[in-house]
Amino acid sequence: MGAIFRVLLYLYPQRHRELLGAEMQAVFEQGAQEHRLLGPSQYLRFVLLEVGGLVLHAAIAQFANATHRGYLENQVNGTLAPPQDLPDEVIEAQNRVAVNLNQLLLAISHHQFVQARFYSNEERKARENLRQMQEKYGIGDPQPLP
């Protein structure tokens, strides 16, 4: 199960993985060890909750990464990202990534996995488009795309 968890960590943005990936893996393995002793049903419940939580929060992290907003700026303080001058094409590409990620999150939260797969593909295309726009305008991404 540890190997699957390690693979799922690749859903997170690279920066998050580098900073916290090893710790997350260690915490998961400690929890798995504890729940394995409680019996198969407890262990299964633990694994399902862990995988669900990981996928959901990876999607949230990708969303925050794509929109360049601090997490707490979105969730606690309610302020916008710092002002920045960007070409319209880049802003549009960023918005497209954000919209698709938002739809992906909604689909996951409603257990609509066909739609989730569709928006996941759309988000990947939008992200590639954003990368091309950033290359075109020579914009360095402070939080590199995964």
Partner: protein, 117 residues
């Protein structure tokens, strides 16, 4: 080029999410590493809340970004067992939130007494 306007800072921040509040409460007493936080939060919430690894580290990352917590250097710290502690800003935010709860519960009990009368 388009200029993105900054919205004025909000004086009264939105309420904290439950995981964020519980993490701040847990770290208020002492620094803890990830798994110790999960266990302490279970105890704090009387086994009502068990944070998943994704939820915990999503919240920790947000709190680190905001400067409300910091990584705490310990002698036996390894890369996969890092401890965290509250910063003074984190402590201040926790106090603000607990004050908000106190005000709310005071108002709630007052309404209950009115209903009983």
């Amino acid at each position: 080029m388009r200029h993105v306007a900054r919205r004025p800072a909000i004086e009264h921040p939105k309420p904290l999410t439950e995981p964020v509040l519980l993490i701040l409460m847990s770290l208020a007493a002492q620094p803890r590493h990830g798994y110790a936080l999960i266990k302490d939060i279970e105890t704090l919430s009387r086994h009502r809340v068990r944070l998943s690894t994704g939820t915990l580290y999503g919240a920790l990352r947000r709190l680190l970004d905001e400067g409300w917590i910091e990584r705490f250097e310990q002698e036996d710290t390894s890369r996969d067992k890092q401890a965290y502690r509250l910063t003074s800003e984190g402590r201040r935010q926790l106090e603000l939130e607990l004050d908000r709860f106190r005000e709310l519960s005071r108002a709630g009990f007052a309404r209950l007494r009115l209903g009983d009368a």
